[in-house]
């Protein structure tokens, strides 16, 4: 067994870990999650290029060049779609309304190639069993369906029953977990 080679492989892996962590942190939270297919593809691409670096099929400099260029291009794209709504629509697509005031929009479903049954299944996943409760359902650019309910279908709110009376159940400040400080948010 070639111990020097194994040590080099381990060293390269360690370096890749640090570089990828830095790249992902700089790109921000968009890399994967609620976002688009393109965001996912870039994450896949970044994950795919590094095995050649770790196994030494390419030099560290070559590998880093590829990673930095892809990351920079992704960052530039994010920034461009942020400042230009037109480019945003072109690169990420537009959301499509598929239900409006309890009625399925059949033309929209057809043009998005979604079967009615599939649309109803997405609504069920959102807890909708009566389509009349839906004010609007939107096929989002990430392929998810979001639902906004009619006001009458939403749960009663505290304000509805308090009717101007004082709120006696206010939690004490130290029990709250939702202040910016408790969240550690910026």
């Amino acid at each position: 067994m070639d111990w020097a080679q194994l040590a080099e492989t381990a060293g390269r892996a360690a370096l890749v870990y640090v570089v990828m962590l830095a790249v992902i942190r700089l790109l921000g939270k968009r890399t994967v999650g609620n976002f688009t297919v393109f965001d996912l593809l870039v994450a896949l691409m970044l994950g795919e290029v590094v095995d050649e670096i770790i196994y030494g099929d390419v030099t560290m400099a070559q590998g880093m060049t590829a990673i930095v260029v892809v990351a920079a291009a992704k960052y530039a794209t994010q920034w461009l779609t942020y400042i230009s709504p037109t480019l945003n629509k072109f690169l990420e697509g537009k959301p499509t309304e598929i239900v409006r005031h309890g009625e399925l929009m059949r033309d929209a479903l057809r043009s998005e190639m979604i079967h009615e049954k599939e649309a109803m299944a997405s609504l069920r996943l959102k807890g909708i069993t009566d389509i009349r409760e839906v004010k609007t359902a939107v096929l989002e650019v990430d392929g998810e369906i979001s639902v906004l309910k009619e006001e009458w279908a939403e749960p009663l709110q505290r304000a509805d029953v308090l009717g101007g009376k004082p709120d006696n159940d206010e939690p004490p400040p130290e029990k709250r977990t939702d202040t910016p400080e408790a969240l550690g948010a910026v």
């Binding site: 609620n34 590094v50 550690g184 910026v186």
Partner: protein, 166 residues
């Protein structure tokens, strides 16, 4: 390489991944941070070279073992130190406060109005003024905290509901 050896190598890598996935103690893919996700991609990418015998299993173990150990160390650090946690994961970003957009947070996350509208629709939020705080969490999910008066009624308020209905 004959088919039997490919079969054996595929099976060994499968078992290895199974053990790695279980022992990482990771949450589901949906809860993972972007970096968790990319790390999983790297791991699965390292393994196919071993499967096709382009690299030895020893080198594969050196590579993936190193990533695994560093990741465990990073996770130990972030569970013990808040600074390490923020450094490795980033911080949650406030995008909406008291129903109004937080421009600096949105700029930091490169979210435009369409993106914000999308995130809020996903949470079923129609009326922004009901939102006290909307936060983009480190796993890129949006959490929404409503103003108290706009929270749903709970069984605690049963008396008030009875009164209102009476």
């Amino acid at each position: 390489m004959d088919l039997a050896r490919i079969g054996i190598r595929a099976f060994i890598t499968y078992v290895y991944l199974l053990i790695a996935a279980r022992s990482s103690g990771k949450r589901t893919v949906a809860e993972a941070t972007p970096f968790d996700f990319v790390l999983a991609l790297i791991m699965s990418d390292l393994i196919d070279d071993a499967l096709w015998a382009e690299v030895s299993f020893a080198r594969f173990v050196a590579a993936s073992g190193t990533l695994f150990v560093i990741d465990v160390i990073a996770r130990l650090m972030e569970s013990r130190s808040e600074t390490a946690y923020w450094l490795l994961n980033g911080r949650p970003t406030i995008v909406l406060a008291n129903g109004r957009k937080k421009a600096d947070g949105l700029r930091r996350e490169q979210l435009n109005d369409d993106d914000l509208a999308h995130l809020l629709r996903n949470e079923g939020i129609d009326r922004r003024h009901e939102v006290r705080l909307a936060v983009l969490e480190v796993d890129s999910q949006l959490s929404v905290i409503r103003n108290r008066e706009h929270e749903p009624v709970t069984s605690r308020e049963r008396d008030l509901v009875d009164e209102a209905l009476a």
